[in-house]
Amino acid sequence: MSDLPEIPPDDDEDFGTVKKFCYVNRKAPYGTVYALESLEMVLIAAAFDQDVSVVFMDDGVYQIKKDQETDGIGMKNFSKTYRALEGYDVEKLYVSKESMEERNLTTDDFLVDVEVLDRDALSALMAEQEVVITS
């Protein structure tokens, strides 16, 4: 998997504590760097054995859209990395029901298995997190 962002640990640090980290991705995969660098943060949290959840909402739902084709814009297609998350024990992936439906998407359009949550359920999910990082 040569297109994985470089991972980690500067050394074998083990922080000894596990917290609930939730990453909220709200922006389209290309056009800005937010999606790519957010993914790097997700992988590092996983590398440090944290309890990681990832939420895709607003245009962030496009980050996990199948069949991304980036040759025309000269960008690296990093969408395969989302499929590798499972290998880092990042299995809690959530999609905003409203954001998905507003964009005429269904779970069949995504390249990873996700759980679809409505606003209230997402709100409850975020409330139980200890660290929420929005990008």
């Binding site: 943060m41 590092i44 440090f48 990008s135």
Partner: protein, 119 residues
């Protein structure tokens, strides 16, 4: 309370860095602890000592350095984000250090609250 601070935007285009600086300063003045300020995305540009804003404007880079000097605040710049944007030790402002993203995770773990400044 013990705070971690994450700065996700650059020092001029967005208000985020100024807000992060003002929050950090206010928290310290109120007697709170700042475990670390971590700079990510374009936030790494807060650490560029080559920046020269007009003299009648605030100099955020200098302000951060002063905060580090006076309060010993740990100012950490993400190495991957920094190198991508041409920032390295040669042009790093005083009081900052460059390190890995693990430092952000540690801030999330150690702080009571991780406060994020971005868009």
């Amino acid at each position: 309370m013990k705070f971690g601070v994450l700065v996700n935007e650059g020092p001029f285009t967005h208000q985020s860095s100024d807000s992060a600086y003002q929050f950090t300063k206010a928290a310290l003045e109120k007697g709170h602890e700042i475990f670390r300020v971590f700079f990510y995305y374009d936030g790494v540009n807060n650490a560029n000592k080559l920046a020269e804003p007009p003299t009648d404007d605030r100099n955020l880079m200098e302000n951060w350095s002063k905060l580090a000097e006076e309060h010993g605040v740990d100012l950490v710049v993400c190495v991957a984000a920094a190198l991508r944007r041409g920032l390295n030790d040669d042009i790093l402002a005083a009081g900052f250090r460059i390190s890995g993203l693990g430092q952000l995770i540690e801030a999330g773990i150690q702080a009571d609250r991780l406060v994020i400044f971005g868009d």
